[in-house]
Symmetry: C2
Subunit: 307 residues, 2 copies
Amino acid sequence: MKRRETVEQWFKSLQDSICSELEALDGGSQFREDLWNRPSGGGGRTRVITNGQLIEKGGVNFSAVHGPLPEKIQHSLKLPPSEFYGTGVSIVLHPENPWVPIIHMNVRYFETSGKNPEDPSTWWIGGGIDLTPHYVSREDGKHIHSSLKTVCDNIDEQYYSRFKKWADDYFYLKHRDETRGVGGIFYDRLNDQSENKSFDELWDFHQQVGEAFVPIYRHYAEKHRDKKPTEVAKNWQMVRRGRYVEFNLVWDKGTKFGLDTNGRTESILMSMPPQANWYYDQQPEEGTPEAETLKWLKKDIDWIGND
Amino acid sequence: MKRRETVEQWFKSLQDSICSELEALDGGSQFREDLWNRPSGGGGRTRVITNGQLIEKGGVNFSAVHGPLPEKIQHSLKLPPSEFYGTGVSIVLHPENPWVPIIHMNVRYFETSGKNPEDPSTWWIGGGIDLTPHYVSREDGKHIHSSLKTVCDNIDEQYYSRFKKWADDYFYLKHRDETRGVGGIFYDRLNDQSENKSFDELWDFHQQVGEAFVPIYRHYAEKHRDKKPTEVAKNWQMVRRGRYVEFNLVWDKGTKFGLDTNGRTESILMSMPPQANWYYDQQPEEGTPEAETLKWLKKDIDWIGND
């Protein structure tokens, strides 16, 4: 089987298994599927779940697109004009209960080739998982980081600290001097040349990241879903969701590219929360759980150790 | 009096008069004022009103800032390294009642000069007023356009059509193929050289735009404020506010610059609505007032004529 086929099939089966596991975990709602085609090549399967018992709004999207590399992406990736192929799975889940965190995963595979078949082609993988609790605790930060460190250590003992830092730097709201959440791992443009590892080794790692998603989310869902939300916590959730919107629309490169290059808007913006609120200059009172949370929204916290 | 002083004093008095007129119109709430300083030069008076009888959340901000021109702005305005001075008033009002429109105004004055006092310095004015009704009607579109055309015609009979088109092009959500609302006027970098008009003439026009704001908003507030909101209309308002968020965070140049160049985040993001909702792929049913509204969210509508 050609690599594109292998990769695409695996992403599709990952989407399938994650959706069925999330439906079972939710217990109250099912995914709705929209199939779409991209006019200039390829398409996707957007799956959205709403008003579940656990998940208020969530998307688990697969896409595989190809065609001439859009000029904006060409410039930003510093690539020559070429054909591209990109496929992957993207997930954002907004739980109803503010004690349960927001979670995000993306795993993707990308290829380019020159128009002339003699031109060298290149490929890479990119992605990661990160967690955005409305309320942060060390314990909750530690769990996702330990889980992801285990996955990383299986391939390379340098990876966790490298990709953890990458996530800290990426999921950062410069205009607030806040991280989006407790981070996780983020990596991009990894390939045989950058890593001195074979496609098979890197693909195996990428698959392990994809498979780590459900167990990580299940941990948080089961731990927190039965804790009754207070009015203060619901309100704080809406404020934190506002920050999520700010990150995704102002800083997230994937969202910007998608919107800028005629991607399917509704699939891209499935990441938007069902509701978000903004209050002018709201500062939580010192000593409240909300103020405590803000103290954790910093880069370079050693979640597994004892920072 | 030096020009900077004249301009700054006038913007301050505009802020004062608009705030007191809006408080009277609202009848239920007052502006809260925050004074702030910009570390690298200047500062502002942010005034925010919340939970009024008419206005759920609104800001009327004055600022006057100066210092070395931030590098990002330098590049985007294609200017050499220089000192800058910028002052103006920015307004966004989110009414509680969905039948009352969102309104936005910005009027600003900008100057740059080389570090060497021999360098030529340049100045310009920019701004405009535009309206974002949650529900659009031709009649409502016509009123703001007629009012602004009167202001424009006082200085130059070309201005209305030129600045109306500029607003259509600027207040446009490319990823939705929707305009933000019914538009209005937008202009930027107008000066003696671009317009072959004196500073006094252009400044007089700019002042008339600033003074047109309250009468325009009063018209809509008085016309619609007593119409009882339905649940469907409240919900639609939250969706349209979501689009407002999308425009401001994804496309608005002023917001991007501000957030990118360490502007005062809370003053910039006073434009965010108090609440916004996102539903996946929501399409209003044909024939509903919501579907009718979408048909009006297009560029190049001749609001004053009979398009």
